[in-house]
Amino acid sequence: MNVATTAQPKRKPSLGDWLKTLTFYELLVGMKATLTHLLNYKPITLQYPHEKRLLPDNYRGMLALLRYDDGTEKCVGCDLCEAACPSRVIRVVSGEVPGEPTKRYSKEYYMDMTRCLFCGLCVDACPVDALGMTREFEWAVYDKRQLHLNKQQLLAIGDRAYPVREKRLELQHPNVAFFNVTFKHLPQKEN
């Protein structure tokens, strides 16, 4: 392909060209365009703090930790979100639930939201849907240390963003209940 541009042979200006130059034809075309916009004034501005745009359903906003409907935390401290995070936002300190050696939870859970790029990989990685992305985005603060969130703050965001919570995992999946033979307090298999 010939990339080199060849100069167009210069056309001799015709009478029409001269007339256009003399009457500022090109300028008038542009000025007509701006005047048309002035007369058909339809601003596309959204007066932001007073009116807000409609967010899409899959909007990825502020991250939050979620609870089950009985108030227990969903997080099992598996560290998968920490592993999935490309920006090293999350830090999880995992621990055993006291008295229940088979159960784990996150003793501490930190998010440095100054680094978060809202990709949602942590939410995808979570095996128990303990993380959620809310539709909050107005998180401008005067001190950026306020964006280093701990577990309580993240849970609070989840509480206010998701007032309707899920049931416990054992209760919402029939197949889990089906195999639930060891725990007598859980719903048993229907015979």
Binding site: L27, G30, M31, A33, T34, L35, H37, L38, Y41, K42, P43, I44, T45, Q47
Partner: protein, 355 residues
């Protein structure tokens, strides 16, 4: 006693004109942002007051309370002098502009001309002379800031203002030939009696070319888009007033808008008949209200001036900035020959068909 009274009346007149000009500057700062916004499908300022109408007051307060910074290495004397040197010539030109019909009223036993502060017989020359001094404010401000952007802005301004000042002066010569006077009052009176007497289309030689040259040159002279090379914000930060802040910056700002109003007033007075209505006489006179006929004339003058000011905004919303060599070539190779040719043809026409 007599002198003191005359001084008091003159000062009151000056205060009234200054008040109107400052009010117009305030209106213009808002109007420019609004018109630009509307032309670009935006809203302009909307926060202060209903539809943002109190924005100029907020801007003024902000500029008044801002810190006044003088950069290290700046020439303090010239740095302080430059804004004043830019503002005073812009305001002083209004002394000879006739805002309304020529009439005298009796006030404390004195003859007072209410619509012109001072009808001196070289009015237009006086305006041109002070407009040239205004360029010193820009050049000195650019030089004394000790900043490369300011210096470049000042340099550009020097070349630009000199080039286009010439065209303004030459474009006006045709009008002066036709009217036979340098006084703006006399020039305006010579255009009385309908729009066909306005110098833009008046026989024996319509000054339409001079008018176009004048409008383009005056846009360049006031450093407005598309000739805003001295302050070209995408190239020179803010040009000659990059280092200015607070009230000193406000002075430059007011000077720019006052200059816009001044050149609009001159254009209206020279080419569009000043305060004359586009029909002979005034409607208020016909229906028997001679005493308030001046109102109609003042409204016509204001309408013409605001048309030019709107044209300034309109051009700003439409046109991109010229390159420096284009600006110079356009000024010297296009505008200057047109203005000179206009003078020659007007002189010939005025000789053979004296008014």
């Amino acid at each position: 006693m007599e002198i003191g009274l005359r001084l008091a009346v003159s000062l009151a007149q000056i205060a009234a004109v200054m008040g109107v000009v400052m009010l117009t500057v305030m209106v213009l700062t808002l109007a420019e942002r609004k018109v630009l916004g509307w032309m670009q499908d935006r809203m302009g300022p909307m926060e202060v007051g209903p539809y943002g109408v109190l924005q100029p007051i907020a801007d003024g307060l902000k500029l008044f309370f801002k810190e006044d910074i003088i950069p290290a290495g700046a020439n303090k004397f010239l740095f302080t002098l430059a804004p004043i040197l830019a503002l005073v010539p812009a305001l002083i030109g209004f002394a000879v502009i006739p805002f309304g019909p020529t009439m005298t009223i009796e006030l404390f036993g004195m003859q007072v001309k209410p619509f012109v502060i001072s009808d001196i017989n070289i009015g237009i020359l006086y305006i041109l002379a002070f407009a040239s001094i205004g360029a010193y404010g820009i050049i000195l401000g650019g030089w004394s800031s000790n900043s490369k952007y300011s210096l470049l802005g000042g340099l550009r301004s020097a070349a630009q203002v000199i080039s286009y000042e010439l065209n303004v002066g030459l474009a006006i010569v045709g009008v002066i030939l036709l009217s036979g006077s340098l006084s703006l009052v006399k020039i305006t009176e010579a255009q009385a009696g309908g729009f066909w007497n306005w110098f833009i289309i008046a026989m024996p030689f319509p000054q339409i070319f001079a008018f176009v040259v004048y409008v383009i040159s005056s846009v360049a002279e006031t450093n407005r888009v598309p000739f805003d090379l001295p302050e070209a914000e995408s190239e020179l930060v803010a040009g000659f007033f990059t280092e200015y802040s607070g009230m000193r910056f406000a002075f430059f700002f007011i000077a720019e808008y006052a200059n816009m109003i001044l050149v609009s007033c001159v254009a209206a007075a020279l080419f569009l008949g000043g305060w004359n209505a586009p029909y002979p006489g005034t409607i208020l006179e016909y229906i028997g209200l001679e005493r308030i006929a001046w109102m109609e004339n003042v409204v016509w003058f204001a309408a013409k001036v605001y048309f030019f000011l709107f044209l300034f905004f309109w051009l700003r919303a439409t046109l991109p900035r010229l390159r420096y060599d284009q600006l110079m070539r356009f000024g010297w190779k296009v505008m200057l020959p047109i203005a000179l040719g206009n003078i020659v043809l007007t002189a010939i026409a005025a000789y053979f068909f004296p008014r």
